[in-house]
Symmetry: C2
Subunit: 419 residues, 2 copies
């Protein structure tokens, strides 16, 4: 788990604020769920491997010998499903929400992976139309464009396309999940290794893999032969048609081998790549079954997620200063403290973020502090200046100094536009 | 632990954004620490009762029989102390940080108390001057004024005042903590009950209580007789003098009976009250010893905290709508979907937050959805309007409808200023 010091927080926050702005421009509304859920809500939702990565807690804290009955949230989708089931009246029939929040997994920390990391989700609950899938893809590609990641490629598929294919090659439908799990590794390990892995499980899938990577027309013809195949293809084409004219500087393509790891997808699925990213930086899909597990009624849902922890390092954010202040008011001596506080208060009232130097060091060290925190301007006032009603403004980048009349200080600084 | 649905999140966020703005205007910079700390960092820092309220977790998640070695953070001050000790070079000699984040306590949930709640802290590390204490008080009272809580009263005391008094009444210095804990209840249970509680512990404190609530001159005379008393009084007077001319619509007073519960305070302490709040809604003080426990060197520090969970209900926030969107684009029929998506995309590009209706219901229900989410305007377009290049804008509050030329839609909505 990581600490983020001020300059990092400010750089991260800049990206997140942009993303939030785009989410809200689509009418997605913020939801906040607690860090901990009841263990029974999370248990068994993420597969056996997932269960092992859940951080468990006991409700009563440190009382000895108590069984854990709470757990830190593992993702943001299951808490959403719980909320939809818990407050049907308040959530309404169609619920568009976003949530940007940390999740926790008791993983062995690997390079670039952490046990606390942020997820950044948008979901539409209650709408079964292709329009909802379209908006989820659009809001994510818009958000990527807004943070400066252009030229993205949207790869679209449908779980029904895969189901149709699996059936058409005579593979036992009960083994669909195994095939999908193996297919999900195609990008990483290649077709041969996937075929081998399936073969060791007694699944002859070489033909399937060939079809997935072969000519598109052959694949379409094969899909046309089954209900699932036809419907899946229609889903893909509809989504592509609606998305293509509106994505910003992105291309959309049918990617029949795209499988996505998670078990709960039921319809269209997608991944977004940008130049320079080896893996997808956004992804999602339709999962019409999950919320029903909690709500006890059918609730269609589609959602997507920005891989925000991978995105932040890709974004060339303006370098952030440590301090949010534009001005440091230096303190000449102990007798000048009230004067320094009053000057700072006036500058703040004029909308200029201002620090007073809070230590008891000499002015030279005070200026060094300002420079080290990235504060661009310092305001100084010795006894002689005070007599004359003047203030000295020092630019810490150029070291230029200017004398300004006391009453004109705020105006002068604003006019300089130093922020 | 609570869920916050969109309108609540938006109302809370409005308050927090204002507070953050004030903190940053003073040059306090954001720090983010993880939700979990190593258990050994937290254990024993909050007293025996506090230890019992720490939520413990095992690092390896669900592995059976493993001793917990992590814990959810209990406050934001101990993690700050750990950060200062861990990254001395990056933090610098004077470190002004704020953190607004949830903390967790395994408390029995009482009315208005929760096991997950937000704390909202500002601290100055590395500055031993009264200026630092002053800025902490000022930034908190400014933040209260900025969220609309005016007329606050700042009560100031110093732990050294209390130490001087305790000594002057011949009470064993080793029992100071017991006296302070009892004094902290003065507001709640009254002087008599406090005296009784101390008496049952064998502490004769009736005189002390009388002095604390008696004439100020007598008290000052008594304090003048000891080093601690004199220095404590000087701290209080210095802080009062610096703060008084600058607090916004607030009064500052010496409040000798103010004790504050936490053990780690060493110098000036304060509480802020506003009209209508029975207990303090902001508080803090100097704690010059705590960071040294982690850093292994003396590091002065002073900090304060807004009782943000108590403040939010006091703030009369503008009622927030569920949806951040200003416009709902209704979808006439399936064939109109591309048109609706394009219209929404244009409006967003013009800076107007816009939803497309994502279900497949009739227009009447679509308008009902918009009204229920607080979206003020709907945009409609039937086949006839499309032929004529027109769009209908419906105000969902007045039900007034206007026909607007397609090309003028964004301009018309912006000119209406509906947000």
């Amino acid at each position: 788990m990581r600490d983020f010091l001020p300059a990092e927080v400010r750089a991260r926050e800049e990206v997140l604020a942009t993303v939030r702005g785009v989410f809200e421009s689509y009418g997605f509304a913020p939801l906040q769920t607690p860090a901990a859920e009841r263990l029974e809500i999370l248990w068994g939702r993420y597969g056996e491997e997932g269960d092992q990565l859940i951080f468990k807690i006991a409700q009563r804290g440190a009382k000895a010998g108590e069984e854990p009955d709470l757990a830190l949230r593992y993702d943001l989708t299951v808490p959403l499903a719980r909320v939809v089931a818990e407050y049907p009246g308040r959530v309404g029939r169609i619920f568009k929400r976003y949530q940007i929040a940390p999740v926790w997994r008791a993983d062995r920390p690997a390079r670039g992976r952490f046990r606390e990391f942020y997820q950044c989700d948008v979901d539409v609950v209650g709408a079964g139309t292709g329009l909802a899938d379209t908006e989820v893809v659009l809001v994510l590609t818009d958000a990527l464009a807004a943070v400066g990641l252009k030229g993205s490629e949207v790869r679209v598929n449908s779980r029904r396309v895969l189901r149709g294919l699996i059936q058409s090659f005579g593979i036992d439908p009960s083994r669909e999940a195994e095939v999908l799990t193996a297919l999900d590794k195609l990008d990483k390990i290649g077709a041969e290794a996937v075929a081998e892995e399936l073969a060791t499980r007694g699944l002859a899938a070489a033909d399937l893999l060939e079809a997935l990577t072969g000519p598109a027309d052959d694949l379409r013809a094969r899909l046309a032969a089954s209900d699932d195949g036809r419907e899946g293809l229609a889903e893909v084409d509809r989504l592509t048609e609606l998305v293509a004219p509106l994505v910003q500087e992105a291309t959309v393509c049918f990617s029949p081998a795209l499988a996505r790891g998670l078990g709960y997808y039921t319809g269209p699925i997608f991944e977004v790549y940008v130049e320079g990213s080896a893996s997808a930086i956004a992804s999602g899909g339709r999962y019409d079954g999950l919320i029903g597990l909690f709500a006890g009624r059918d609730v269609p849902a589609v959602g997507g997620s920005l891989g925000i922890e991978r995105i932040i390092p890709l974004v060339e954010a303006a370098e952030q200063r440590e301090s949010p202040a534009t001005v440091l008011v230096a303190v000449w001596d102990e007798g000048s403290r009230p004067d320094a506080l009053a000057t700072a208060s006036e500058l703040r009232a004029a909308g200029i973020p201002t620090e007073v130097y809070l230590g008891d060091d000499r002015v030279g060290e005070q200026l060094g502090y300002a420079a080290s925190r990235g504060i661009p301007l310092a305001v100084l006032r010795g006894p002689r200046e005070r007599e004359q009603g003047l203030v000295t403004v020092r630019d810490l980048r150029t070291r230029a100094q200017t004398s300004v009349a006391e009453a004109e200080l705020a105006g002068y600084i604003k006019q300089r536009g130093a922020t």
